[in-house]
């Protein structure tokens, strides 16, 4: 059996799985060959290339069995919270209660990709007046209506205010269809006025103290709702413990990102890194297991880095990626074109920063929520991207537009201007729909052009 790091197809994975199993592979309850998920309709899996490590096998299986976990949680009598839009805040609260699990129905935006449009979710959204001029997150609406992809949550909680219009209107549409939603306000993060009390946020942004207090009061409303749902108190002690646990996840992720993005040879592909980062926002419905999955990935990348081995060539162009892709295959495409990911801003950097543990927990969470790169100006976001580019040594920035998303129309121009003026690195914008098959040659050409530019610049 070849154990050199590499990327393999699903078919190759299933063969490898059999070899590993015969060699004594030990797995968790959700383990098994990846190919079985195609039977659930996840046809895109057939076209992806995967990291060949056991750690990545576990990561993929963990991701692809989340729906089962949610159904099991319900069967066990746990309460399910559908937390929407805030990407990382409310789940920390929910998982502080021992009889609550939380997940993001927003994640349904990947279903059209994974099922290659066969689930009919976008058609359902169309029929409800939410057509292709909206962000692919409209698939969430279809997922609620069909009820085929996740159990309907016992409580929906959605942040609004300084959020994208697409999500806000889709959540409102859902509300109009009879799904009650607890709305909480996240205001646009602004600079403190002269002489106004200010606080430092995780990640480095600054905000007026009164904005933090406002968000804290909003989160207190959420806390009360969660207590009502759980039938138990969510006191500061429990919340602090929940924050500590979330920080454990975040520290492991920070370590994984640092090792992977700064290694001379890329030890873990972009796709697996994207999925690992996503675990931070709601722990894929199992916080403890998330920690175990991340630990195993860290062990794997450490081993590879120590051995000087990786999955891509040492000369791969170091790309900073902005915004998540609606089609996962594009992460493979970047690598096929000669690039690797060295830095990301997938809309939820605030879910990667550790939450202050020395503060009262509600205030700490309020600060974290306000550190969301999307609730402030695009200039703030660009500054954070610049800081991470310096940290990870990225050589170019790729802004991946989400079709129809309200923020993508104007932010790219600002981010590109700021990054180019501060760091003089090349910036490219592309648009990635849920299934890119028809535009793959065009996308490939654009990615190759960026990578060639990076490599030419190295010669100067």
């Amino acid at each position: 059996m070849n154990n050199a790091p590499g990327q393999i197809t699903l078919e190759e994975w299933d063969e490898r799985y059999e070899q590993l199993r015969r060699a004594g592979l030990r797995e968790t309850g959700y383990g098994g060959p990846l190919g079985r998920h195609v039977g659930d309709g996840d046809r895109r899996l057939l076209k992806l290339r995967y990291d060949n490590s056991v750690a990545s096998l576990r990561l993929w299986n963990f991701l692809l069995t989340e729906e089962d976990r949610l159904h099991n949680a319900r069967a066990e009598g746990k309460r399910i919270v559908g937390t929407m839009k805030d990407l990382g805040t409310v789940p920390v609260m929910a998982y502080s209660l021992d009889n609550v699990v939380a997940f993001y129905p927003d994640g349904a935006w990947w279903i059209p990709c994974v099922m290659e449009l066969s689930a009919g979710l976008l058609e359902t959204a169309d029929s409800l007046g939410i057509d292709e001029s909206f962000c692919p997150v409209r698939a969430m609406l279809g997922a609620f209506v069909t009820g085929a992809h996740f159990p309907v949550p016992d409580q929906l909680v959605c942040s609004v205010g300084a959020t994208c219009d697409d999500f806000s209107v889709i959540a409102q549409r859902l509300n109009g269809l009879g799904y009650p939603i607890l709305w909480w306000e996240i205001p646009h993060r602004r600079f403190p006025e002269v002489d106004e009390a200010a606080v430092r946020l995780p990640g480095g942004f600054c905000a007026p103290k009164r904005q933090v207090e406002f968000v804290k009061s909003e989160l207190e409303r959420v806390r009360a709702a969660l207590e009502g749902l759980a039938g138990q108190r969510l006191d500061d002690k429990k919340l602090s413990a929940g924050i500590q646990k979330a920080n454990e996840v975040r520290r492991y992720l920070a370590e994984l990102r640092h090792i992977t993005f700064t290694a001379k040879v890329c030890p873990l592909p972009a796709l697996e890194m994207l999925i690992a980062e996503m675990l931070a926002i709601h722990f894929c419905s199992d916080r403890d297991e998330t920690i175990s999955v991340l630990k195993e990935l860290i062990d794997e990348v450490k081993t590879r880095v120590q051995a000087g081995k990786g999955v891509l060539g040492a000369d791969a162009a170091r790309i900073f990626w902005v915004n998540p892709v609606a089609d996962l295959q594009v992460m493979n495409l970047l690598e096929e074109c000669g690039g690797r990911i060295c830095g990301t801003e997938y809309l939820f950097s605030h879910a990667l920063d550790t939450i202050p543990e020395e503060l009262p927990p509600a205030e700490a969470l309020a600060r974290m929520a306000l550190a969301d790169p999307m609730v402030g100006s695009s200039v703030d976001r660009a500054e954070r991207i610049c800081a991470d580019i310096r940290r990870f040594g990225s050589e170019a920035v790729l802004i991946s537009r989400i079709p129809g998303a309200s923020h993508c129309a104007l932010e790219g121009e600002v981010i590109a201007e700021v990054v180019q003026s501060r760091l003089e690195v090349p910036v490219l914008e592309i648009e990635v729909p849920p299934v890119t098959d028809s535009i793959r040659p065009t996308l490939g050409t654009r990615l190759e052009a960026l990578i060639e530019t990076v490599k030419e610049r190295r010669k100067k």
Binding site: L128, G129, I130, S133, F134, C158, V160, G161, A162, T163, C164, D165, D166, S168, V169, I170, A171, Q172, R173, N175, G176, I181, W183, W184, E185, P187, H188, R190, E193, R210, F214, S217, E218, R221, S377, S378, V379, R401, G404, A405, S406, H407, C408, A409, L410, E411, G412, E413, V414, E417
Partner: protein, 329 residues
């Protein structure tokens, strides 16, 4: 007098005027090919028009932008980078049912006041604010009483004029006028109109209809409630906040049932027989309401999507309106 420009109905003109500055709620024209925004795809034409208007404006001393939609919130970044005009981004909460949301709006008004003082305005006493509010209230009422006595086009232009110039310039009297009757009563519902869009009212009248409810953001829907005189005396700023934040219904609010409650009342009392739904392409907030409105209204709804080029009222739009009215005959 220094002029402060804005376009959002949640910015109270009275607050700016009470600071000794001239509020002007502008109505942008279509940006067309002269847009200052780099991209056009995905960008709401109204936002493009507004950014263009602000950047080209040589008369204003300051601009106020609000957070009622994501693109406008992000347009603030563009304005800050493309022009030197002092700019203020006002947080208008999407939620409205909590005391905290009202308090946030009130805090933002106070912060806006500090911005106005920095531009040369003078912080008003409660008495001075109350006086300005009363003047505006009287002028606003006089505008509203002309409804039915002017053509729908004249009426909506009068509202736009009031928004742009405040209390001055309202000279209309209705004493000797007879109310307009006839024409199929229609409502126009949607976001704000661009300058070029105002021809819609004449198109409707020329096709045998009459807009009896201007529920565009630039119309009656975007006007605040009348002030309560007792509350105005006791605490004018709080009453100002109540009349604006507490009463203007809009699609962006969460939840937005306040809009539907308002529409239910107004559509019924004006005996509306059909709805023209006016929306800009890439305006998610209004686009998403179209389907719901069609299911909810129990009235025929004509969807007009506007691209915001310089010919808003295309032949196609005109013909669609004509056909719609023919169907309603």
């Amino acid at each position: 007098m220094k002029t402060i420009i804005y376009t959002c109905p949640y910015v109270p003109a009275e607050w700016i005027a009470a600071h000794g500055l001239r509020p002007s709620r502008i109505m942008p024209g279509a940006a067309g090919s002269t847009s200052s925004v780099g991209r056009t795809e995905g960008v709401c034409p109204y936002v493009r028009g507004f950014v263009n208007e602000v950047i080209m404006n040589t008369q204003a001393s300051g601009v106020v932008v609000t957070t009622v939609c994501d693109q406008m919130r992000r347009a603030f970044d563009i304005i800050m980078r493309r022009c030197k005009l002092p700019a203020f981004l006002m947080n208008v909460p999407s939620t409205w049912q909590s005391v905290a949301a009202h308090k946030l709006y009130l805090d933002e008004l106070r912060r806006l006041g500090e911005f106005l003082v920095r531009l040369g305005g003078k912080s008003p006493s409660s008495c001075a604010l109350a006086k300005v509010m009363l003047e505006y209230d009287t002028a606003r009422t006089s505008v509203l009483t002309t409804r039915g006595y002017l053509t729908s086009s004249q009426y909506s232009e009068l509202i736009a004029e009031f928004n742009r110039d405040g209390k001055s310039g309202i000279t209309t009297t209705i004493n000797e006028k007879k109310p307009f009757t006839g024409g199929i009563p229609l409502a126009i519902i949607g976001g704000p109109l661009l300058r070029e869009d105002f021809g819609i009212f004449d198109v409707v009248e020329n096709s045998g209809g009459r807009i009896v409810l201007d529920a565009a953001e630039t119309g009656e829907r975007g006007m605040c409630a009348r002030f309560d005189l007792r509350r105005l005396r006791d605490g004018p700023l709080i009453e100002l906040s109540n009349a604006y934040f507490g009463s203007i219904p809009d699609a962006f609010r969460r939840p937005n049932n306040q809009l539907y409650n308002w529409l239910k009342r107004e559509l019924a009392c004006r005996e509306v027989r059909g709805i023209i739904f006016w929306r800009y392409i890439w305006c998610d907030i209004w686009h998403a309401e179209l389907h719901r409105l069609k299911q909810w209204a129990n009235l025929p709804v004509l969807d007009i999507d506007v691209s915001g080029d310089e010919q808003a009222l295309t032949v196609r739009t005109t013909q669609r309106i004509h056909a719609f009215l023919e169907m309603l005959q």
